[in-house]
């Protein structure tokens, strides 16, 4: 991937929202003073939440939160991609479909109906329609990680996602294992970088950062079964989804 900005100018940046709770952009706003520092290094030209809408042809960086749930959004993400050098998927919705994707899991309790009789075809991650250069995972995103990504983009450096699994981050915090206590925690197959915030606070990992590379879903299902832990229905659906994507 070729990455360079116009010499001596700040990179033009847009922040866009598709179907989501806008929780990821709230994380960015929560950066407060750090956000002001970031704004000194970039030229923010498009951000609905901050009321910014300048005239521009091309973007250096586009941050997109939310998943694609309608034809209109599919068109929108394609348009953003056309005018952008570096496209970043922000948060679980943009990266993997997020919570909205659960409606495709055929779990009756999770059926979603949208207001206004809007036509919905499904909830898709944005990389189903366009090429994504970087993924910033989590629900919501981790704001420190967002700053790391911005720094790497400014330095024209490759952003590396955390290599750790949630499970390995959890043990570094010297926590008692939730699976050992009989809970269906997805820590072993989930990408880390969150510092195991949920298991550390005695909540199971729901996998909001998406599957780790080479995640062994089958083995985790067997482990749960062997230990008499009820297999969460979303884990089975996740497996179906992974197979259908291959």
């Amino acid at each position: 991937m070729k990455m360079s900005y116009e010499r001596n100018t700040k990179p033009k940046v847009g922040i866009f929202t598709l179907s989501s709770c806008e929780g990821c952009i709230v994380q960015i706003l929560n950066l407060e003073e750090t956000l002001l520092e970031i704004l000194e290094h970039i030229d923010l030209v498009d951000c609905r939440v901050l009321g910014v809408k300048h005239v521009y042809d091309k973007l250096d960086i586009a941050f997109v939160e939310g998943c694609v749930m309608s034809k209109e959004e599919e068109e929108e993400i394609k348009k953003i991609r056309e005018k952008t050098k570096i496209l970043v998927a922000l948060g679980d919705c943009a990266c993997s479909g997020g919570k909205f994707m659960m409606k495709d899991f055929e779990i009756s309790e999770l059926r979603v109906s949208l207001p206004g009789g809007r036509e919905v075809f499904r909830a898709d991650p944005i990389d189903k329609f366009v090429k994504v250069n970087y993924y910033l995972r989590g629900c919501p995103i981790n704001r420190e990680e967002f700053v790391e990504l911005v720094k790497d983009l400014l330095l024209l450096r490759l952003f590396k996602e955390s290599p750790l699994s949630v499970c390995s981050e959890c043990i570094l915090r010297e926590q008692e294992c939730l699976i050992d206590q009989g809970y269906p925690c997805l820590g072993p197959i989930t990408r880390g970088g969150c510092n195991a915030v949920c298991p550390y606070n005695n909540k199971i990992c729901y996998g909001c950062r998406g599957l780790s590379e080479d995640a062994n879903i089958d083995s985790l299902i067997n482990i749960f079964k062997r230990r008499g832990i009820p297999v969460p229905p979303y884990l089975l659906s996740l497996k179906k989804l992974v197979i259908s994507k291959r």
Partner: protein, 350 residues
């Protein structure tokens, strides 16, 4: 010549630590959420010297921390200023008390890597500034197998002092000059050890050896040829179906030392930190190079890497196996992968 064996009452040991805590920072075992962890001891009443098994995370974290800033730098035009963290490390004085013989053995192995094979100033400095006071086990847990890795229940070197509880006292073995000097100023707290105390320790060790020896296992040092021969054994395929690649086994292993190094630069792009962080050979990213190529794509090759490093590559590099039989990886593996079963199956196949 210093006396090799002494005794100290439990009470006097606490007195001793109180006095030493004025000069040293004390680290030792304490309870946290049902686990034994080794941490800074601010209040000596929190110190738990007699505990079953071993701590969740091994003492390597005190010498090679999970995340460590090596140095900071500032770039001002053509001038680069560097603040090396080694300067602060050199001022540290620490006592690490209450670690088990398997963990002492693991530090001896890490020394071969970080001091002899390479000279890592950060690890070396921490080792030099830390006094090791070990303690022998009272009982074993079901994942212990130190007898088969020649790393317990007693160690011969790598400690400054080694405690063994005998009734309400501790038998103290002085393992180094540093250890002897440390206690020489506190003569009044110690007594010479009577012969029956030394015999009592021997009996304790014999009973531990007997318990662990009930496992049917070969000595792990003798597995080299068998391992080499079985590189394409079907067991590796089976294990790859079970392994979750979560990397927990690496992080709890007292001899796994792989790390990654990266820079954390501030937003003004002038000031930065060079950071070292533990890495795991179970992660795909471990062998990913700049072009994006991954050398160990298949899970099978990553599982093999860890086991073969312990029993084969380590022998090639530093002359000894690097498994100390602590059994931590067996305890934490969600999939229940057990290095003893792997070794047993390959050994029995011979």
């Amino acid at each position: 010549m210093l006396t090799k064996f002494l005794i100290i009452s439990k009470q006097n040991l606490i007195h001793l630590l109180e006095k030493l805590s004025k000069k040293f920072v004390i680290f030792g075992p304490k309870k946290q959420n049902g686990n034994i962890i080794i941490d800074k001891i601010n209040d000596l009443s929190h110190l738990v010297l007699e505990y079953e098994g071993r701590s969740l995370i091994p003492p390597k974290k005190f010498f090679l921390p999970p995340t460590e800033v090596l140095f900071e730098y500032e770039i001002e035009k053509d001038n680069i200023k560097i603040w090396d963290k080694l300067v602060e490390l050199k001022k540290q004085k620490r006592i690490l008390i209450g670690i088990k013989p398997c963990d002492i053995s693991s530090l001896n192995i890490l020394d071969k890597v970080f001091i002899r094979e390479f000279h890592d100033p950060y690890v070396t400095t921490r080792r030099q500034n830390t006094i090791i006071v070990g303690i022998t086990c009272e009982t074993i847990v079901d994942t212990c197998f130190c007898v088969f890795t020649d790393s317990g229940p007693l160690v011969r070197e790598g400690f400054d002092l080694l405690l063994t509880r005998i009734d309400e006292s501790y038998l103290v073995e002085v393992g180094s000059e540093k250890g002897g000097q440390l206690i020489s100023k506190f003569d009044e707290l110690f007594q010479p050890a009577p012969q029956e105390f030394i015999r009592a320790r021997e009996e304790k060790m014999e009973s531990l050896i007997e318990k662990i020896s009930s496992l049917v296992l070969p000595n792990f040092s003798e597995m080299y040829d068998i391992m080499v021969k079985n590189f394409h054994h079907e067991i590796w395929k089976e294990l790859s179906n079970q392994c979750l690649s979560c990397g927990k086994c690496n992080f709890v292993c007292p001899t796994c030392y792989c790390f990654d190094v990266y820079d954390d630069v501030d937003l003004l792009l002038k000031h930065g930190k060079r950071i070292r962080r533990w890495d795991s050979c179970h992660f795909l990213s471990f062998t990913r190079v700049a072009s994006g190529e991954v050398f160990r794509k298949e899970r099978e090759t990553r599982i093999k890497q860890r086991i073969y490093h312990k029993l084969v590559y380590s022998v090639n590099d530093i002359g000894v196996i690097s498994c100390v039989g602590c059994g931590r990886c067996i305890n934490v593996c969600p999939a229940g992968i057990d290095i003893r079963e792997i070794v047993r199956e390959l050994w029995r196949g011979e």
